[in-house]
């Protein structure tokens, strides 16, 4: 040991001290901090911590009305899954349905009543109390109602079905207004009209994809956007591998949709000529004697003009293909023809769909398993009667301009986004002195509101749904709150009830729940006695548990005969397009993307979901045939202006192998200017530049009837997509096998009915 003098000693002590200090700090820094255990004040009955609880409800992301089961833990919604016992989706659920959670937990939700004092569109909202907000609205309504001028109040809601719709009806009556409009951009107006005209049916028929063996789809993207995608997907799968025989699917559309990709044949007919093609097939079927009805002569006469030769020439589909199509359609039993989206959104939309109905009729698919089956009257109200088409909204705008409307009540409808700029709808709304919005989000339309009375999301509130397209029998489901409301919001129904009370027209219910229960009580009373439970309460709890209700009231074998003048009225004119073909060489086809009509654009999961066909995320694009692109000297990512007679939007080119050279396609959904952090100022909205070409029969805008031209800007952007190279260079990654005889076991669950 060396002799340590004082200095050394101090050094030693110092070193030791520092060392110890360092040691303590070290361990404290790597130690886990203390957490807290916060117990309940009052233990809830319906869940225990660490154990998941499931609630059955209804998905309201689109109008298909799928049943959902929501997994909750510690009172928070964790996951949405399809309700296996619900006949519409049988456990399946689409991406948007999954993303419903992000509607509930969206950071951009309106957290309480707001007042936009600083002027419309300023986005400068101030928090107000519910009472304040309601009084502001009620006072105005009260004055108008008292003066008997309730008609100066307009209610514009997103498509609501079930008893909530009835509640709104009652509210409208109470106010004395008939300006109660449901608005969904993608509501199948043409289909309703066509079926009304040909079959005389109020309801949409049920298209039995599951049992058909030959599907002819005229532009209907039944797997992604059309009516009830999940149910169609189930049917598709069932038909492909459910039975002993593999169903054959043909898709006729100018731009390949997901359904087109899944189909066995994809036939790019000239846009708008689907109806002519259908009649061509009909002509062949009748001419070749496949149809033996006693009215065959009438048919022959009306169809005589549509010879295969002419049709081939007009539709740009080879005659042989047409003949072969007609043959297989007539010979394969059962077969089914459906039409929608691309085919319906033309100036001749309704005629086209009528033609398709005729085709079904002539091939004998009406009232057949695997064909067109008529739906019974649904248990609850559906909203088609009130659905506003383009013309209705135009009228609304007109009356707003001429100052006939004092108050507009908005509920989750966003027409400012989906109406073409040419319609001048936005400007018209601004004429209305007072606008109140019940939306949960500030979207383009709500941005015009003076007062925002935010409503619950569908996961927080009561409701019910009776799927419009149905499943061949009456079916409905109750949507119950699965979590306690996050924010200071109210259920739409409760707000309306409150308003009604304040304007002195109280309704028989105190809450939405009561209203719903009341409605279901009626259904319970009507339900046939043998399956009746002993009390409504037990029925109600059973209903909530099952999450679905159905009634064995199929109209399987029913068919209908068109009368002489119906037959005579059949005929499809060539489609009309806005703009001169010389100046505007391309037809623009805006199609529904995963974001639906744009309402899902504020959900990050949907923004990050690669597009089904192009795997693009975050943004919009212009789809163009490789040949066209080559001619125009454009490559992927080149920024172009898509100019229509009405205006222009700017988006990058995406070379798309499966689209007609004379057609340009753009996805709907992006291009929001004011819809939360995830959607705003991203991509472009093709609907803006649509020309107001209207299908006179349906009164709805023909969204595929706008011609455009492409103007290169010389700029280039990188399209954000997850795909590298979308060609497998002979690497057999996706392997295929020929032949039709595949007897794989079914993966589909047979449709179940919960008896009442």
């Amino acid at each position: 040991m060396p002799n340590i003098d004082r200095r050394d000693f101090i050094k030693l002590v110092g070193a030791g001290g520092v060392g110890v200090g360092a040691g303590v700090v070290l361990r404290e820094s790597i130690k886990h901090p203390r957490e807290h255990l916060i117990p309940h004040v009052l233990a809830p009955e319906d869940y225990s911590s660490g154990v998941a609880t499931w609630y059955n409800s209804v998905c309201s992301m689109c109008s298909a009305g799928c049943g959902i089961s929501v997994r909750t833990r510690e009172g928070r919604a964790k996951k949405i899954e399809g309700n296996p016992s619900h006949a519409v989706n049988q456990g399946g659920l689409c991406a948007v349905g999954q993303a419903g959670l992000q509607v509930l937990y969206n950071p951009d939700r309106v957290t309480g009543p707001l007042l936009q004092a600083a002027g419309r569109g300023s986005n400068d909202f101030t928090q107000i109390t519910w009472d304040d907000g309601l009084t502001r609205v009620a006072s105005r309504l009260d004055v108008l109602r008292a003066a008997g001028r309730g008609n100066r109040v307009a209610v514009l809601t997103r498509g609501t079905s079930g008893h909530l719709a009835e509640l709104l009806e009652a509210f409208g009556q109470g106010l004395g207004t008939d300006r109660l409009l449901h608005y969904d951009y993608d509501h199948p107006h043409a289909l309703h009209v066509a079926n009304q005209r040909f079959f005389g049916e109020q309801q949409l028929p049920y298209y039995d994809l599951a049992n058909t063996r030959h599907l002819l789809s005229f532009g209907a993207d039944y797997l992604a956007g059309w009516l009830s995608p999940v149910h169609h997907s189930l049917g598709f799968a069932q038909s492909r591998h459910g039975g002993d025989h593999r169903g054959h699917f043909v898709q006729i559309e100018p731009r390949m949709s997901p359904s087109g990709a899944a189909a066995d044949e994809w036939i790019p007919a000239r846009p708008g000529t689907e109806g002519i093609l259908a009649l061509g097939l009909a002509h062949h079927i009748v001419a070749s004697g496949h149809y033996e009805g006693d009215d065959v002569d009438a048919w022959q006469e009306v169809l005589s003009a549509y010879t295969l030769a002419r049709v081939a020439q007009e539709t740009d589909v080879s005659e042989s293909t047409l003949r072969q199509l007609a043959e297989s359609f007539a010979n394969t039993r059962p077969s089914l023809a459906i039409g929608g989206d691309g085919a319906a959104n033309n100036s001749n939309g309704v005629d086209t769909l009528v033609a398709i109905n005729a085709l079904n009729y002539l091939a004998g698919n009406v009232g057949e398993m695997g064909g067109v089956i008529f739906n019974p009257d649904p248990g609850g109200a559906t909203s088609h009667s009130r659905q506003a088409n383009y013309q209705t909204l135009a009228q609304l705008a007109e009356s707003a301009r001429s100052g006939e409307i004092d108050v507009l009540i908005l509920n989750d409808a966003n027409p400012v986004f989906t109406m073409p700029v040419a319609s001048g709808f936005k400007a018209a709304l601004e004429q209305i002195p007072f606008i109140v919005s019940l939306s949960s989000f500030i979207d383009e339309t709500s941005a015009l509101a003076d007062v925002v009375l935010p409503s619950h999301t569908y996961l927080e509130s009561w409701g019910d749904a009776f799927p419009e397209q149905g499943v061949g029998f009456s079916i409905g489901a109750v949507s119950q709150p699965v979590v306690a409301p996050l924010y200071d919001t109210k259920a739409t129904g409760d707000i309306v009830l409150d308003l009604a009370r304040r304007v002195g027209k109280p309704m028989p219910w105190n809450s939405t729940e009561e209203c719903i229960k009341d409605g279901w009580n009626k259904i319970y009373q009507e339900s046939d006695s043998n399956t009746k439970t002993e009390s409504f309460e037990s029925f109600w709890t059973a209903l909530l548990k099952a999450g679905v209700w159905g009634k064995k009231n199929h109209r399987m074998t029913e068919t209908s005969r068109p009368n002489a003048n119906t037959i005579a009225s059949i005929g499809v004119d060539a489609p009309t397009f806005s703009g001169d073909a010389e100046v505007y060489p391309f037809v623009l086809q805006p199609y529904l993307s995963t974001m639906h009509d744009g309402r899902a654009a504020n959900l990050p999961w949907i923004q990050e979901l690669p597009d089904a066909m192009t795997s693009v995320v975050y943004g919009s694009w212009v789809e163009m045939n490789p040949k066209t692109a080559k001619d125009l000297g454009l490559t992927e990512g080149d920024l172009v202006d898509v100019e229509s007679p009405e205006g222009a939007v700017r988006a990058p080119i995406l070379v798309y192998p499966a689209i007609r050279p004379d057609v340009i396609a753009m996805p709907i959904g992006q291009g929001h200017t004011n819809y939360g952090r995830y959607a705003s100022n991203r991509g472009t909205n093709p609907l803006e530049i649509l020309s107001p070409v209207v299908d006179e029969n349906s009164g709805n805008v023909a969204s595929n009837a706008t011609r455009v031209k492409i103007v290169a800007t010389g700029k280039h952007v990188e399209i954000v997509k997850t795909s590298g190279k979308s060609r497998d260079l002979g690497r057999d990654i996706v392997q295929t096998t020929g032949g039709d005889d595949h007897t794989a076991q079914t993966n589909s669950i047979p449709i179940t009915v919960i008896p009442t």
């Binding site: 795909s723 590298g724 190279k725 979308s726 060609r727 497998d728 002979g730 690497r731 990654i733």
Partner: protein, 451 residues
């Protein structure tokens, strides 16, 4: 060299070398501080930022999950070869021209290895858990996975680092002793310790000789194994254009190649700035030049074989990957590499070129640039063109990565500068050995001894 060294006496060497350690002018310190500053700014700051933000600070993505960090790792490992390896080979074949330069060559090995080890830390996503790759008993009862090529690496590099450290240290014990006697104060203390009280007795010399030889024998296979193992990090995968049997020899040759070039660079620097002109002579550059020529031919050969077999295989994956390397996004780099590593070295065929210093310096630097490119291409091209075309992607280094890459060179320089200050950068006793021992000149000696 005899021609030149004969004029010198033992004392002169002694003085030169000791001077290089004891008396350093301000220039040295300026150089050191600059190098260190660069290291801080270009290497450590970006790295700390990356530690804070995550590997996202670099340009890597999916599928390009490996990038310049790994390339640098291989590069520095490669540079480390030839230092010790060359010196061992030459020691065993005892070729005398090695002796003037091997000390600094070995130092190069040592510091390249250190830098390489640090690059591993930079590369991994959670360096604060890197110790899990080392086998030590722990309460989790978890051990590293000895089947992993990466763990081979860990083992090999640890061994190699230990080996070359010991090798260079043992070789310089006598020189420490020599310096010890010429220094005072803390230096003296330091060198007394480092020289372990070496006296230079016949016994000590004898033992040293044997130990040194054994080390050399052990280290040669080690060095070969090290870079083979590094190559297996790639070759053991089934990625097209990486899954190659030829990779081990390819990497070893490449390593020695770049290492030799590195030595040329270092030689030049020593010669220029520490004026060791008399010891590091044209002869060395001449020999190194020949070596470079041979190696470059070997390297080119292996490259051709790789491309040939790749295309000959006819497998879509292989062909696509090679196509991409030769003509794809990174193609300019590829051809740059060919120009620097396959064509330029052919100049070494001419003695006049080999014996002229500056051109050799330029060539050596060019070669190492080329070799770095090679490593980068191996990582980047193969990863961006794999089996599933839909998952193909592109990898471009980020600013942070490039800065860190430059920083590694600064780091290496710093370490090397410290080395020349502490170590006799030319081995005195071996240089003395190469000279003729002094003849007896005194008349007293002429009477002869009774032996």
């Amino acid at each position: 060299m005899d021609g030149e060294l004969n004029q010198l006496k033992y004392t002169d060497i002694h003085n030169d070398v000791v001077r290089s350690i004891v008396e350093t002018g301000p220039n040295y310190y300026i150089a050191l501080i600059t190098a260190f500053a660069f290291t801080l700014i270009c290497f450590f700051f970006p790295w700390f930022y990356q530690l804070y933000y995550g590997i996202g600070a670099a340009g890597m993505n999916h599928p390009g999950v490996w990038g310049t960090y790994l390339a640098s790792f291989i590069f520095w490992i490669g540079l480390s070869h030839s230092g010790t390896l060359l010196s061992c080979v030459l020691h065993i074949t005892n070729s005398s021209w090695r002796k003037a330069m091997y000390r600094s060559a070995e130092a190069m090995t040592l510091f390249s290895l250190v830098v390489a080890a640090i690059m591993v830390m930079v590369h991994v996503g959670r360096p604060w858990f890197i110790h899990w790759a080392a086998p030590y008993p722990n309460q989790m009862e978890m051990w590293p996975n000895f089947r992993s090529p990466l763990l081979f690496d860990v083992m090999a590099i640890t061994t190699y680092l230990t080996g070359s450290t010991i090798f260079i240290y043992m070789g310089s014990i006598p020189d420490f002793a020599a310096v010890r006697d010429r220094t005072q104060g803390w230096r003296n203390t330091m060198y007394s310790l480092m020289s372990l009280g070496w006296r230079g007795t016949d016994t000590e010399w004898h033992r040293l000789h044997w130990a040194y030889t054994f080390l050399a024998v052990l280290i040669i296979p080690l060095a070969v194994s090290v870079h083979s193992i590094v190559s297996w990090d790639f070759a053991m995968s089934i990625v097209p254009a990486l899954h190659q049997t030829i990779f081990a020899p390819y990497f070893v040759v490449g390593a020695i190649y770049s290492g030799t070039a590195g030595i040329v660079t270092v030689m030049f620097v020593l010669r220029k700035f520490m004026d060791f002109g008399q010891y590091i002579t044209e002869l060395h550059f001449d020999n190194l030049g020949k070596l470079l020529l041979v190696l470059s031919l070997l390297w080119t050969y292996i490259n051709i074989v790789e491309v040939f077999t790749g295309f000959y295989s006819g497998a879509s994956g292989e062909i696509e990957a090679l196509n991409y390397r030769l003509f794809g996004f990174y193609a300019p780099l590829y051809w740059e590499m060919i120009a620097f590593c396959a064509i330029a070295p052919l100049l070494c065929a001419f003695k006049s070129f080999r014996t002229s210093f500056v051109p050799m310096l330029v060539l050596s630097i060019a070669i190492n640039i080329g070799m770095y490119t090679e490593r980068f291409l191996i990582v980047a091209t193969s990863l961006s063109r794999q089996y599933l075309p839909d998952a193909w992607g592109l990898y471009v280094p980020s600013a942070v990565e490039i800065s860190i890459l430059l920083g590694t060179f600064a780091l290496f320089t710093t370490l090397f500068l410290l080395f020349v200050k502490v170590f006799p950068s030319v081995s005195m006793y071996e240089v003395k050995e190469t000279m003729e021992s002094p003849k007896k000149s005194t008349p007293a000696a002429s009477e002869g001894s009774p032996a």
